[in-house]
């Protein structure tokens, strides 16, 4: 199974991805989480620290451009394999090109066992071709979009749906669903359900806002590790279960911006 999480920057993709990876690993799956973000923070909660040896940093620093799997694949919580693509400092270079090169390098090194469940955690919006690579080149087949009920989060989600729709004709990537990550906005769950329906998909989970997520993050842990018996941990386990059992993978039907605004105003009061 090859999954990718997309969504607006700061919406909680990495937190959700790390917790879902942790939940999968506890179900007995071999899991590999690949952070596709130059910030390198996708796997922080699994490794207990920011990943220092990213794919691109390692390639850059090696004299002949050659790297080994051991240099770039790190073991995190419960045996989860953690990889960070890495990339340039803010404001320089091209992070999108970095994603392309990093994924090609991973492919060439054949570092991901066939029987692994792979989860790609991709930076923010699909801002350029590089960030569409996990969808476009068949690295991921099941795409999940993390979104709150806020306008710009839904706007980004709708744009990502456009990206999936664009590449649906040439590959296997399909939309698996919307993962609601609550920001406690008015009628948030209802809005997200209708939003998902309008995109021809489901709201696969609605993750309530809980202080325990912040507490776990402060300890550099997933909720699953930090508070395994908590309700929030159960939410993530259920989400992992639903993703694993999901049968509905669709070609999304994105909305126009005007339609999106209209939908949001419908649930505003």
């Amino acid at each position: 199974m090859k999954i990718a999480f997309y969504g607006k920057g700061g919406i909680g993709k990495s937190t959700t991805a790390a917790n879902v990876s942790a939940a999968f690993s506890q179900k007995g799956h071999k899991v590999c989480q690949i952070g596709c973000d130059p910030k390198n923070d996708s796997t922080r909660l699994l490794l207990g620290h920011i990943c220092k040896q990213t794919v691109l940093d390692t390639v850059r620093d090696s004299e002949d451009g050659e790297v080994t799997a051991e240099q770039i694949v790190h073991e995190g919580f419960n045996g989860i394999k953690c990889v960070e693509a890495g990339g340039p400092e803010p404001g320089v270079g091209c992070a999108g090109r970095g994603i392309i090169v990093a994924l090609e390098k991973l492919n060439a090194l054949n570092v991901i066992p066939e029987d692994s469940l792979v989860l790609y955690d991709v930076l923010g919006d699909v801002v350029c071709g590089g960030f569409a690579v996990p969808i476009r080149e068949g690295y991921a087949t099941d795409i999940y979009i993390v979104s709150s009920g806020e306008l710009m989060s839904l706007y980004a989600a709708n744009n990502i749906a456009k990206g999936i729709c664009r590449f649906a004709g040439r590959g296997k990537a399909r939309l698996g669903g919307i993962i609601g990550n609550s920001r406690n906005t008015v009628n948030e769950e209802k809005l997200l359900k209708e939003f998902a329906a309008r995109l021809n998909t489901n709201l696969i989970a609605f993750i309530p806002r809980d202080i325990i997520v912040n507490q776990a993050e402060n300890k550099r842990q997933t909720v699953i590790e930090f508070a395994p018996t908590s309700n929030q941990a159960e939410v993530y386990r259920r989400l992992a279960e639903d993703i694993e059992n999901s049968q509905k993978l669709t070609v999304p039907t994105p909305m126009t911006f005007e339609e999106l605004e209209e939908l949001i105003s419908k649930y505003a009061d």
């Binding site: 691109l56 270079g93 090169v101």
Partner: protein, 432 residues
């Protein structure tokens, strides 16, 4: 037998890289070093251009052209720079260039990669300029993204005017600065123009931008006149802008007449220049002497080419090849013209433009490539813009740059005679 050419390039529009233009603009300016902020391979175009120019010069019997060729250094961007940015690489490269070549100024040309990843080249250049106390010129041009060689050429020329040229110096009477390239100071073009300018007692003091040494930049503004070595293409537009800038900033009037091209063109060029300089008598004297010189050659050519049949094959866009000067020469030598064949390299619109241009200067029949096969077979001599495969055809390859002035006409006429009198049944090609 159908006409087969060796090479065809069908172009919908002009597209080129600005980087060779940057290099060419200071390529022989003593004191300059050009840095290509690019992958290594980008440098090969300019490198090849330099080598080709060198061997063309030798083939034409020009003396070794210039004492200085600006080193061309590539920052050698690789994949990792496209990801992490190439600013540091550029900084290191500039340090290396300063240490190794001790230039008086540096010009940086940006590649497509730099345009896409958005390296802050201006900031790096400003930092290096301060560090090394050395002028470093940058341009907002990014390889093929700009789509034009002349964007680079003009950009550098403009930057040199802004950075290095100072006003207030006394003018040197009857001095001329040539603007543009066209093969450099020892190329046929510049040599012929200098010869014609001598009729007006004008002395060329330099050729800007590519051939003026850093230490001589101030001399440019002492010129009493600038003469554009242009044509009808984009080059001329760019050079005219530079000429106007020199006029505005340094009160240097310019003469931007299109090429002394063909007899008609040469006569007009001389007459116009005479009017501009209020030296109409000098112009008339020059015209008379050039006419006499040409007529002497024409008498001989008419005699030698009597009974010979010629076909003309044209496949270049009008932008790169004007047919008028060729038609004029054929008319002057009174050779039997079988027809003009337009090769299959045209887009419909370009073909129509070329047809119109041909019809405006001759009433010789025009054929397409298929129809033209018989015309070519029947011809003793073929003047062509594209080499034909036929091994037994006697071909004169028409140059991209027209031959200039009466000197150029005479050279072309002599080449026509040369190919017409090739021994026995031998074919072959002479490059015009």
């Amino acid at each position: 037998m159908p006409i087969k050419t060796k090479r065809f390039i069908i172009k919908k529009r002009s597209c080129s890289c600005s980087m060779p233009g940057v290099w060419r603009a200071v390529g022989y300016s003593k004191g300059a070093v050009v840095v290509f902020h690019s992958p290594k391979a980008c440098a090969h175009v300019a490198h090849t251009m330099d080598i080709n120019a060198h061997f063309r010069g030798i083939a034409r019997g020009e003396r070794e052209p210039y004492g200085y060729t600006a080193p061309l250094i590539s920052t050698m961007l690789t994949e990792k720079h496209s990801i992490f940015g190439g600013a540091k690489q550029l900084e290191n490269c500039l340090d290396f260039v300063v240490k190794r070549y001790k230039p008086q100024y540096i010009v940086i040309a940006n590649s497509c990669v730099v345009g896409v990843i958005g390296d802050d080249v201006a900031a790096v250049a400003a930092g290096a300029e301060e560090k090394h106390n050395l002028p470093i010129i940058t341009l907002p041009c990014y390889g093929f993204l700009d789509g034009e060689y002349y964007a680079g050429y003009y950009g550098v020329a403009e930057a040199l005017v802004e950075r290095f040229l100072v006003g207030g110096l006394p003018k040197v009477q009857d001095s001329v600065i040539l603007l543009g390239d066209n093969g450099g100071p020892n190329g046929e073009y510049a040599v012929e123009v200098k010869r014609l300018l001598a009729y007006f007692d004008l002395q060329v003091i330099g050729q800007f931008p590519g051939y003026v040494a850093y230490d001589d930049m101030n001399q440019v503004t002492t010129a009493a006149l600038s003469v554009v070595l242009g044509g009808r293409t984009q080059a001329n537009d760019s050079l005219l802008k530079i000429a106007k800038k020199l006029e505005e900033k340094f009160a240097i009037p310019y003469y931007g007449g299109v090429y002394p091209l063909g007899w008609q063109g040469t006569r007009e060029w001389l007459a116009d220049l005479g009017r501009k300089l209020h030296k109409e008598e000098s112009a008339q004297k020059a015209i008379a002497e050039q006419k006499e010189r040409l007529e002497r050659v024409l008498v001989d050519a008419k005699e030698k080419l009597r009974g010979k049949k010629v076909a003309v094959c044209i496949g270049r866009q009008l932008e790169y090849f004007r047919p008028e000067w060729v038609m004029e020469i054929l008319k002057l030598i009174e050779i039997n013209q079988l027809g003009i064949v337009l090769l299959d390299s045209y887009m419909p619109k370009d073909r129509a433009s070329m047809e119109q241009a041909i019809k405006s200067c001759t009433n010789i029949n025009i054929f397409n490539q298929l129809e033209g096969a018989k015309v070519v077979e029947a011809a003793d001599i073929i003047l062509t813009t594209h080499e034909l495969e036929a091994y037994n055809a006697r071909q004169l390859f028409l140059p991209m740059l027209p031959t200039v002035g009466v000197t150029g006409m005479i050279k072309l006429i002599k080449n026509i005679i040369k190919i017409a009198y090739r021994h026995g049944d031998k074919g072959g090609i002479v490059y015009g």
